[in-house]
């Protein structure tokens, strides 16, 4: 019997090359914005990392005009094979600067370094590589012999995967011949601005990519700007609805990737130990700040006790703390506001009579942290079964028959993802056909690949990102 404590194994924060101030990127240059500067904070320590200038309405106008000029004069006329060279170059530069990007991402977002290092940054590079390959083959994508781009894309992305979301948005837009004005989230602007540096390094023609930090008002200004032909938004359903309302009748093409309340369905013939891994990965990956998180566990009643015992043991081994420690499994909640939202919904779960179990893991005193939490005895009518918590909180419900599982899984206004766990192949196909969700994972969860289209049903949004289907969002078809 022993007590093996892992010594701290911090990644050096110097690798992030953190600068005291960051500026917005317009028309190929870093310029001072005329909005009020914002301070971005490390959510694991609450220290201010840097001051970031933000865009005013006139800056948005300048950026959109720069993007329009770049579109008209250079990018839309350039042969696909030439565009591909720039995009490949960006992909390679992301790989070259991967450690810097990973550490900076973890500092700014709070996510564990092992995730930014092993998931966010490699996936971002993969999206650029994948779409670079499409740039000269668009005639073979199934949208006619010479599909045309849309023009200027206004893109607004969330704080949960700052660099990866930027890549998901920028790579297909550029590959299809569009130019881009992108607004990163208010709390996580830094890696998008390093990506802007990479665009400079790649000698991307000025104006093809513009990055405007700022809060919701900048996003609103951008998507409503008359010079924007296409709006791509990833974020909350609430804001997605606002944008759709504002843009109705404008003729702008839209894609929306919004919230979710995904079900992970575990049948009694599932590979239990791997199902436990999938559940953990589904809800505790990235502190549960994942729109496709498996936040509802639907488990067949006959195995519920055994599965929950295994799950609690596994969850209690998750290490919560310093985002830069290589052994941290669950990092910091991105902001105080998000932490308060999680606390509020957890209190609602308690009040509605669900059984709360919280991992006994030690949690740092400073910074925004929330210990992994599992609610059992959750009923469909409870808020924690219906509302997106966007935190490390799992709601466990049970079912008796496959039909009941499908009915409960689909009983949500969302429909972004679902997980099916069974060793029986025919049951996987049967259940997958009935899931109203854009992504259905079988015996795995939260796996991302640029070749696989990602997107939702109903209030989880519309349009697809990735794969051949994702190109449609940036082509005039």
């Amino acid at each position: 019997m022993s007590n093996w404590e892992y010594a701290p194994a911090p990644e050096s924060r110097d690798i992030a090359n953190l600068k005291p101030a960051y500026r917005m990127f317009v028309d190929g240059k870093f310029v001072e914005g005329s909005g009020d500067p914002l301070k971005t904070v490390n959510p694991a320590t609450e220290e201010v990392l840097a001051e970031v200038s933000t865009a005013s309405p006139s800056d948005v106008d300048t950026a959109v005009k720069a993007a329009r000029r770049a579109y008209d004069r250079v990018w839309s006329k350039m042969p696909g094979a030439e565009r591909a060279k720039y995009i490949f170059r960006i992909a390679r530069l992301i790989q070259e600067r991967s450690r810097e990007l990973a550490v900076l991402e973890s500092l700014d977002n709070g996510k564990p370094i092992k995730e930014s290092r092993d998931v966010d940054v490699p996936t971002a590079a993969a999206h650029f590589f994948y779409h670079a390959g499409w740039a000269d083959k668009l005639g073979y994508a199934g949208y006619g012999p010479d599909p045309r781009p849309l023009g200027v894309a206004g893109q607004v992305i969330p704080w949960n995967f700052p660099l990866m979301m930027a890549a998901w948005k920028i790579a297909p837009a550029l590959a299809c011949g569009n130019t881009v004005v992108l607004k990163p989230a208010e709390t996580t602007p830094l890696t998008a601005l390093v990506l802007a540096e990479i665009c400079q390094q790649a000698e991307l023609p000025p104006g093809v990519v513009n990055i405007l930090p700022g809060a919701g008002d900048v996003g609103s200004e951008l998507v409503n700007h008359a010079g924007v032909d296409k709006v791509a938004f990833t974020g909350s359903t609430e804001v997605g609805k606002l944008i759709q309302r504002a843009l109705a009748g404008s003729g702008k093409k839209m894609t929306m990737e919004l919230g979710g309340k995904a079900a992970n369905i575990v049948f009694d013939d599932a590979p239990l130990d791997q199902a436990v891994e999938g559940i953990v990965n589904g809800i505790f990956f990235n502190q549960g700040h994942v729109c496709c998180a498996g936040s509802r566990l639907l488990v067949q009643e006959s195995i519920a006790d055994e599965l929950l015992d295994k799950l609690r043991h596994r969850v209690s081994t998750l290490r919560v703390g310093d985002s830069l420690d290589k052994n941290t499994d669950v990092g910091a909640i991105n902001s105080r506001a998000q932490l308060e939202k999680i606390q509020e919904l957890v209190a609602a779960g308690d009040a509605e009579g669900a059984q709360r179990w919280t991992s006994p893991v030690p949690v740092p005193d400073k910074g925004f942290f929330f210990a992994p939490t599992v609610f059992s005895d959750v009923q469909q009518s409870m808020r924690i079964a219906r509302e997106e918590i966007f935190g490390p909180v799992l709601s466990v419900l049970t079912f008796r028959t496959p039909d009941e599982a499908v009915a409960k899984a689909n009983n949500t206004p969302y429909g972004l993802s679902a997980g099916i766990w069974t060793e029986k192949g025919s049951r996987i196909l049967w259940a997958a056909q009935r899931m109203r969700a854009g992504v259905v994972w079988a015996n795995t969860f939260n796996r991302f690949d640029p070749t696989a289209p990602f997107g939702g049903y109903q209030e989880s949004g519309f349009g697809r990102e990735g794969g051949r289907a994702g190109l449609e969002a940036y082509l005039d078809v």
């Binding site: 022993s2 892992y6 130990d273 081994t317």
Partner: protein, 316 residues
């Protein structure tokens, strides 16, 4: 284990049909999932004091092994001396778990380790193939036990297992266990020949049901020998066994573990898959030979702050 959890374990072993029902009722193992989990857990970064602790613990878990046709009493004596005192310049290095030899070398090994506390493990039961009759396997075991072996590493009959004759495999383990007397029994599954993780899980349970004190991956004579995902499945089995019966049984990966880095990955798996109760030589062993010297070199690197090289550890 949905259906079997209601069944008494004594009922399970009543006959071939009940054994089959039980073993095939165990939850399946998803290959992609277990391999992904093993790879992810392999990225743990173990530094400073935790690394030093891991190195010493790993040394104490080594079953220092020589299983060659060319083994001689001289070779075994050298190994025993190394087992007692792995690093002549550092007296605080723990002795290894055991030396592991063929049955005819047991007496030499017993004399060699003396009263140091180092165990003497002997392979038996027509190692490594297990292709002989029960009488020969029992005689092989008895010979090792009489010569003073404290641990017996038997092999299961993989032919019988793969053709579904689970009762035969079970009976043989029970018989060998009886022949062991006070010696601990390690049951070698030879996972490289079982081919699927489902089979590894079933064979693990079969060995545990039959009374094996340890389940061991491999003979070291078949490739692949020990792998991390296979060891994960076996660690889950001993953990499930503890949850079910309250008894603690051990795991021994053997073959192919050569570096400190590898050993630490295994210890992390023991820690996080089975639990920290298993981080002791009574419940976890490494079947290895070259691993020990790498552990000693890394130990010196930790203490002296620089790498000293292979000439500063003894080549045995």
């Amino acid at each position: 284990m949905s259906a079997p959890s209601q069944t008494e374990l004594s009922e399970v072993t009543r006959d071939d049909a009940s054994l089959r029902r039980f073993l095939h009722g165990l939850p399946g193992v998803d290959q992609v999932g277990v391999e992904q989990r093993a790879a992810t857990l392999g990225t743990r970064s173990i530094k400073k004091a935790s690394k030093m602790w891991a190195i010493d613990t790993a040394i104490s878990m080594v079953d220092l092994t020589t299983l060659e046709g060319a083994d001689t009493p001289g070779k075994v004596r050298t190994l025993a001396a190394k087992a007692r005192r792995p690093d002549p310049e550092y007296a605080d290095v723990p002795h290894v778990g055991a030396v592991c030899v063929y049955p005819d070398m047991v007496a030499t090994a017993v004399a060699g380790v003396g009263d140091s506390g180092v165990g003497v493990a002997s392979v038996a039961t027509a190692f490594p193939s297990g292709r002989s009759n029960r009488a020969v396997k029992l005689a092989d075991t008895a010979m090792a036990v009489e010569a003073g072996a404290t641990e017996i590493d038997m092999v299961i009959d993989r032919g019988a297992f793969l053709s579904g004759r689970y009762g035969q495999v079970y009976d043989e383990i029970v018989a060998i266990k009886a022949a062991c007397g006070g010696a601990h029994l390690k049951v070698i599954l030879e996972t490289g020949e079982l081919s699927t993780y489902d089979n590894v899980r079933r064979a693990s349970w079969l060995a545990l049901l039959a009374g094996g004190d340890f389940i061991k991956t491999s003979t070291g004579k078949v490739s692949p020998a020990a792998t991390l995902p296979v060891t994960h499945v076996m660690l889950q089995a001993v953990r499930d066994w503890r949850d079910r019966t309250g008894e603690l049984r051990g795991v021994k990966p053997a073959g192919g573990i050569r570096t400190t880095k590898d050993a630490i990955r295994y210890l992390v798996a023991v820690h996080e898959v089975a639990g920290e109760e298993w981080l002791t030589p009574t419940l976890f062993r490494f079947g290895a030979s070259s691993l020990l010297n790498d552990l000693l070199m890394q130990r010196r690197t930790q203490l002296e702050g620089h790498y000293s090289g292979p000439d500063y550890v003894t080549v045995d």
